[in-house]
Symmetry: C2
Amino acid sequence: MDIKSPLSVSQPTVRRLPLYLRILKQAEDAGKENISSTYIAKELKLESIQVRKDLASMGITGQPGIGFTVKSLIRAIEHFLGWDNPTDAFVVGAGNLGAALAGYEGFGEYNLNIIAAFDIDPAKVGSEISGKKVFHIAKLAEHIQRMHIKIAILTLPSAAAQQITNIMVEAGIKAIWNFTSLKLNVPEDVFVERIDLAASLAVLSNKISIDSEKVSK
Amino acid sequence: MDIKSPLSVSQPTVRRLPLYLRILKQAEDAGKENISSTYIAKELKLESIQVRKDLASMGITGQPGIGFTVKSLIRAIEHFLGWDNPTDAFVVGAGNLGAALAGYEGFGEYNLNIIAAFDIDPAKVGSEISGKKVFHIAKLAEHIQRMHIKIAILTLPSAAAQQITNIMVEAGIKAIWNFTSLKLNVPEDVFVERIDLAASLAVLSNKISIDSEKVSK
């Protein structure tokens, strides 16, 4: 399959690709050779036109009456996402969340290797979290440069997040997975994807408090 | 302060409230008594009209030339989010991510108490993750009912997620923090907030692969 440049594909489409991959791999495990957009859509509770559009925007079209070849569609999506090559990343902040992410086996499936963690706490430096060595944050820039690391997973306290981000960007980081509650200032060529657990929890708690209000009325 | 019903406030506003709280608590720690929407906005790189609108939608307005009283604004937001009362939650799925979330001290700040975890793996049942006891998932419904648990943090493999969700909803769960990659089917009165790490990682990886493509051109 000759796929298009990643530049032309929308973010919502990119976000759905891991879902398609999951269904495709299940189909592969079950020995299926071909798969239809209707089947993928049904499994994911999406519209089949959505699936076809997403794949078409990557330059992939199925064959009428046959659909897509499972194996080549897996390869095409993985290649598109850069998941066919291992990517190395650092975890910055070796607290609970940092340790969790450092040890999260789920990332292996996406060829993301977390190779080390960084922290300022002397009690943590030199130790290991989830099997990854913890270095002092003063060594961060040097390690990013030496190992050509492009992805950082940021789990520091918000107060330190911007300062360390500046150092990382200066050293060559191009993508930051931001688990802090701070909106980071970065140059245009650096991409930040933010996961705000507190904001997410706010929506949940608020929903629960709406419910209790209803009950008490 | 007499605040409005949570029903009338939009989700984007609710998501920004934890950010306001963080700035307010920093101001409280620094001994500030009053705070302006301009100050809050500047700290968070937002527009001050946005901050005023968000607070106004909760029925909170500042005083011209003075702004907001730090302590009462903290109380009002915490009350609005239900964070002034402890909320108990279960972690369902005691893998790496489940353990991380079970031990995440950040939740204490929001009065979310994770009181137990559930898993199907006999090696995990009876043990502890991050200091929380792991029970067999067969006991989940019984524990939800007995302890009146309303929030579940779902970190199971996707394959088991819908089936266990059905059981939890039947037992009385009203809000699910969904860390699986499955879109869950739930009744209308159950709220699902999804954190899709794979989708988030897809966007990051894709960005990095765009960069390497540019370089190789």
